[in-house]
């Protein structure tokens, strides 16, 4: 378990270090409001897994983006999901089995899927340049 307050660049290096231990089948829930830094964390995490600075846009619109790597990396953003049933269509079963999966707004999938997961919680602080972060293991 990690719990600290960090700058945005420290958040990125923390993400890069954190994901080096992930393996096939691992799932990471990203918790926090809009603007809390979820996509910043995932972008740094994915670039660290890939080993190069691939563009990692927010998948809000497409709901999921995959990155070619072994195992395949799946980045979900379930913000637009209004009904948990909709997540049945998003290939989550394949992601959980075969890949490393990051999910923003996992609460929107209700109890349709309940995989074991790491939980990364981000919160804004009074200082707009700093975030409080908590990471818990499954």
């Amino acid at each position: 378990m990690i719990e600290k307050t960090v700058s945005l660049s420290e958040l990125e290096s923390l993400a890069s270090d954190f994901v080096r231990t992930l393996k096939q089948g691992d799932v990471v829930y990203m918790m926090g409001d809009l603007g809390a830094g979820k996509t910043t964390f995932v972008r740094a995490a994915i670039q660290s897994l890939l080993g190069y600075d691939e563009a990692v846009p927010s998948p809000t619109f497409t709901l999921v983006q995959t990155y070619d790597s072994t195992p395949l990396i799946w980045h979900y953003d379930l913000y637009r999901i209004n009904d948990p049933e909709e997540v049945l269509e998003l290939g989550l079963d394949e992601a959980f089995n075969q890949g490393i999966t990051f999910i923003e707004w996992p609460q929107n999938m209700g109890n349709v899927y309940t995989p074991k997961h790491y939980r990364v919680s981000l919160e804004t602080t009074a200082n707009t340049e700093r975030r409080s972060i908590t990471i818990t293991a499954p």
């Binding site: 996509t39 809000t60 619109f61 995959t66 290939g91």
Partner: protein, 360 residues
Amino acid sequence: MDVKYKTDNKTIIALGIETSCDETSVALINANKEILAHRVASQIKDHEIYGGVVPEIAARAHLSLLPGLLDQVFKDASLTPSDVDVIAATTGPGLIGGVVVGTMAAKAMAAALGKPFVAVNHLEGHALTARLTETIEFPFVLLLVSGGHCQTMLVENVGTYKVLGSTLDDAVGECFDKVAKMLGLPYPGGPQIEKLAVNGNPKAFDFPRPMIGQKHLNFSFSGLKTSVRQAIQKLQTEHDGTLPESIVADVCASFQQTVARVLYDRIKQAFLYTAEHHPDYKQFVVAGGVAANQHIRGALQTVCAEIEFAFYAPPLSLCTDNGAMIAWAGLERFQKGLTDSLDIKPRPRWPMDQIKGISA
């Protein structure tokens, strides 16, 4: 399996299937740029009927709509499946569940009919649409602005796309949708904001203009989105939670104006870069759903006039996702010999510079 290509002089007919997002769409077009049949079943509209605002993104809807649409386009065009010369489908990028439905149906049809299959990149569909509706030769500068994408590129030939700049975070359409959601407006947010902005003051709020004036060609909208969110939260506190219509209109107008200014600036930089490196490139095409916004179109027309680029935009009906653009991209690729094997895997993410071109 060997595929026999047509050699007679009959006009080539292409079938296009688009299922990568909210619209299920099928079209039949021919090489004379005639749209023989075109059906778009917007899942958004289905939900409006019920008074709801649910963004139905379910692949299930594609699966239940697609077979009927396929039957319907053949009926509309008085053709049978065996009259088709090439079958194209969006195989990415997009919602994976939907992409799978369109891809598998198209592959099965291609196999059963013994016709070539073309795996079309959804963005390439948008990129080439202007060539279906206008007489425009390569090369041109393209701005693709939609819910999921925001990038500029040089379109030099079918399959030859050089990305100039992309968004580092959010897409423009997504930014519109998120601001609309913060204001409690229905999805999709773009048309709502445009409508309300008409009665608002675009100078009411001074939002940041990310990257304006910078030499590089990328985009960023996340900071703007955050700033709008903070402004809305502050206003909501001041007004006990419910914003008066006039303030909502002002936020919409100011936000839309800021986006238009940013796009104006980013395209100007792209033109200046292009003028320096490719002085003979003098055409500009805007594509994607956000191109339907008249205010943004106006800003783009202004910069085209200033830097002397010819402005092209597909008709509004072909700016949003549709099967005709997929059929057209499929036909263009087929004519260049760019067909695909039936073991192609659908791709949720598929950057344009990874599209297979003629030289590859």
